[in-house]
Each structure stands twice: as C-alpha cells, then as structure tokens.
C-alpha cells in the first residue's frame, strides 16, 4: 500500500518536473491553465447565459493567475480589475435585465446541435496542430524568469507606444460622446420633473 503510494507520488513528481529541477510554479501553471481551458469550454457549452458568464469569469481569473506566475503581476491585477471586475459585471447586468427564461434555453439548445460543432472544431484542430508544431520545435523557456513591474509597464505605454495609447483614448472618447448623445433626453419634449 505504502509502496504503491510512493510510486504514484514519484511518478507524479517526474511528470511535473520532467528533467528540470522541481519547480512548484510549473505545477501551478499547469493547474491554472487546465482550469482556464475547462472553464472556457464550459462557457461555450452552457445553455443558461448567466452560468456561461460565470464560467467565463473563472476563465479570466485563471488567465490572471497565469500572468502572475509568468512575472507580470501588474497585468494580472488589471485583468481582474478591468475584465473580471468591470466588463463582466456589465455583461451580467445586461443578461439580468433581459430576463431569459426556459424558452431562451430551448433556442440555445437548438443552436448547439452536434452538427454546428463540426466547422469550428476542424478550424481549431488546425490551429492546435500548428501550436503543437511550434512548441515542439522551440526550446523551453523558464516561467517567470524576470518580473515586469508597474513602472516598466507605464514606461512602455507612454514611451514607444504613446501613439497607440492616444489613439485608444480618442476611440474611447468617441464612444463616450456617442453613448451620451444616444441616451440624452430631448429637453424640448419632456422635462425631468414630469416622470
């Protein structure tokens, strides 16, 4: 019994460490990567929209975890604050307002017929093959060899990529002005106190 346990433990260690020295970070990386893949698959295949969104949030959190392990804590924090904490809240907000009932799940079930999967699966399989080929032909890189702090990110954003940042902010400003214009009440027809 004890021998068997030892055997499993040692083979598990060998699987995780391969020929390098034992790296707990690698194990954590594989676990979070597996969670990301599984939760993304669940996000696609759930019939209930809110459940699908919850899996998507888990997927984003595990990607943040991977960023953290790879030595980019600033990117990890922003992933959680902006994507998981703000944008996904808006998604949940909208889905909540739509009040999707059993009929929506029925529609969803019809959309997710097995036949629908063939095309995307073939295309993804090609991508997967390419990825395996590329990884197999390149040397291994250690995870998190150096940390990219918040200062380095800021210098990169407002140094060589300043133009991109400015363009993105102009785009956001345009979106803001557009949203304001669409949501504005026509003051001629209806005053605020009338409601």
């Amino acid at each position: 019994m004890l021998n068997q346990k030892m055997f499993w433990k040692s083979s598990l260690m060998r699987l995780l460490t391969r020929n390098e020295k034992y790296e707990p970070m690698n194990a954590i990386f594989y676990i979070s990567a597996a969670i990301a893949v599984v939760s993304t698959a669940m996000a696609i295949s759930r019939l209930n929209a809110v459940h699908a969104l919850l899996y998507l949030i888990v997927s984003l959190l595990s990607v943040a975890q991977i960023f953290f392990i790879l030595g980019a804590p600033f990117a990890a924090a922003l992933e959680v604050i902006i994507y998981a904490g703000a944008i996904m809240v808006l998604f949940v907000f909208v889905i909540m307002m739509l009040n999707l009932g059993p009929s929506a799940m029925e529609t969803e079930r019809q959309w997710l017929r097995p036949g629908m999967w063939i095309g995307p699966v073939l295309l993804s399989a090609v991508l997967m093959a390419e990825l395996v080929f590329v990884i197999a032909n390149s040397g291994s890189h250690p995870a998190g060899s150096h940390e990219v702090g918040s200062g380095a990110v800021g210098i990169a954003l407002f140094g060589p990529y300043a133009l991109g940042v400015e363009l993105a902010s102009i785009l956001l400003l345009a979106g803001l002005v557009g949203a304001y214009h669409l949501a504005r009440q026509d003051s001629g027809n209806q005053s605020e106190g009338e409601v």
């Binding site: 809110v50 459940h51 990890a76 904490g85 808006l90 909540m96 307002m97």
Partner: protein, 316 residues
C-alpha cells in the same frame, strides 16, 4: 519556525477580522441607541456583550430555506463569494511592520481587484433569488458599485504618486514625515465616500433599501446564508476603515504605544465614524446617487491626480 510564525499571522489576522466584525453588530446597535437616546441591547451578559453569541445561535438554528424558484447553485455560492472577496484584502493590509500575511508589491491593486469582484456576491445573490425586489436590488448594486469603483481607484493614485509604490507597507513607510491625510485631503474624502458606497452602508444602502425593496438583494435569504451577507457588511466596514488608516493616517505609525495598538485604535475610530454617519444621514434618491458619482466625484478625482502629479514633478 518561519512557517509556524506565518501560520500564526494568517490565523491571527483573519480571526481578528472576523471577530471584530461580529462584535460590530453589538457595537453598532449600542452606539446607534446612544445617539438616539435609548439603551439598545443590554440584557444578555455585561452591557449586552453576549448579544452577538445569542444572535449567532439563533441564526444557526433558523430554517435554511432555498426557494424552489431560485437558481440553486448560484444562490448558494453568492453569499460565500461576497464573504471571501471582502475577507481577502486583509491579506495585504499590514497590521504592524512585520505582521502582514502577504506583502505584495501590487497590494493596493489587489485590494481594488477584490473590491471589484465583491459586486458579484450581491448581484448574483439578487439574480439567483428570482424575485423582483431582489433583482431590483441587484441591478442597483451593480450600477452603484461600478460607478463608485471608477473614482475609488483614481482617488488612491495621489497616494501612489507620493509613495512611488503600490506596496501597502511602503505606502505606510512613506508617511513617516507627514500623514497622507494632509497633502491628500481630497483623496481621503473621495476614498471615504467611495468606501461607503462599496460597502453599501447608509447613506448608500440603496441595494437593500428596506423602505422600498423589502430587503433588496437578500430578500430570499435566511439562516446562515443571510448571516454571511450580514457579517460581510461589517467585515467590509472593518476593511475600509483599515484601508483608510493604512493609506491616509499612517497605518501603524505613532509614538509610545506598540504599532499594533496604534493600528487598532485608529481603525476603531473610523469604524465608529461609519456608525455615526449611519445615525446622521438619510438615503439619497437613486438618480442623485449616480449623478453625484459621475458629475462631481469623478472630475474631482481626476483633478486630484493632475495637481498631485504636477506638484511632485515640479518638486523633483
């Protein structure tokens, strides 16, 4: 030995946070009673101190009912999600120079990330209840917390500029000459208002406004699941008070007394402030709440960053 020490710190910090927030239930009722010229709970134990224990036992033995029309898994997960996300920021708050669970370099961002995630507990709880009042509470919570989160993060950037770091211990050390509450007074006011909205306390408790929405997002909750929401609120009050002390009032810094005592004392004063505000201020209308956030507080937060940045650049 190091692992043992670390374990003691972890258990101590989370135990202290949980027991303080449980004790707050009693403190709040007594202080509110004091300010409203009545006694409050004073029957169970000395000064009514065992009221918390009595309430806890009562809550444990209540029927834990899940409505048949609710979304069962989400309904069960929501209160846990709220409690965990409110508890996590205590891991990066330093109680004294060496007493901190995880001295993260991105400690402040970790706090912001957790407060961003704490919306889910309330929103999902309200949605999963499948009840109109709960849903209205959840919708209000989502809009309110998103709006106040935006300038909560921005109001703290002045502190980050002054300290040059997101690490909470370094932010405290940077206040050795002068506490941040003087150069960052505007930031302090903005952060405190945002803190009230984030913990959805009076006057910003519109998600659970009992006068119009029964009990808002936790209408359908009972027993210990309601207890988790309840403790989560007081945990949030403790957490925001501790953050105000760490960021603006020098954390553990202070003469004579040991650092932990200073930290506890300052935090206690701000907790009492939270309760006093509840006793003093009425609830605003919903559109006033949102307009106030976007039209007044957000521009002020941006102005604060601009002025602080300009001054720091000019001095260096």
């Amino acid at each position: 030995m190091i692992i043992f020490r670390h374990l003691v710190i972890v258990i101590g910090v989370f135990g202290a946070a949980l027991s303080v927030s449980a004790g707050l239930v009693w403190l709040e009722r007594r202080l509110l009673a004091l300010w409203q010229d009545r006694y409050g709970p004073n029957r169970v134990g000395h000064f009514g101190l065992l009221q918390v224990v009595a309430d806890g036992i009562k809550m444990f033995f209540k029927e834990d009912w899940i409505p048949p029309f609710a979304d069962r898994p989400v309904f069960v997960i929501a209160p846990m999600l709220l409690l965990v996300t409110v508890l996590m920021p205590f891991a990066v708050i330093g109680f004294a120079p060496e007493i901190v669970v995880a001295d993260l370099n991105i400690g402040l961002l970790f706090f912001l990330a957790m407060s961003a995630l704490s919306v889910y507990g309330i929103v999902l709880g309200g949605w999963a209840s499948n009840n109109k009042y709960a849903l209205l509470g959840a919708v209000r919570a989502a809009a309110q917390m998103l709006s106040y989160e935006v300038f909560m993060g921005l109001s703290l950037m002045g502190v980050v500029i002054l300290a040059g770091s997101f690490n909470l211990s370094e932010i405290v050390d940077a206040q050795k000459g002068m506490w941040n509450c003087i150069p960052q007074f505007l930031g302090l006011v903005l952060f405190t208002i945002a803190g009230f909205a984030e913990t959805h306390r009076m006057p910003f408790d519109l998600p659970e406004a009992e006068a119009e929405l029964v009990a808002g997002y936790h209408t359908e909750y009972s027993g210990m699941k309601f207890g988790l929401f309840f403790v989560g609120e007081y945990l949030g009050v403790t957490m925001i008070s501790a953050m105000i002390v760490t960021l603006f009032f020098g954390g553990w810094l202070g003469p004579f007394l040991p650092p932990v005592a200073w930290f506890a004392l300052k935090t206690f004063i701000f907790i009492c402030g939270f309760i006093l505000v509840r006793a003093a201020l009425p609830r605003p209308r919903y559109d006033q709440l949102m307009g106030y956030a976007w039209k007044v507080l957000l521009p002020l937060a941006l102005l604060n960053i601009l002025v602080t940045g300009a001054i720091v650049l000019a001095v260096h």
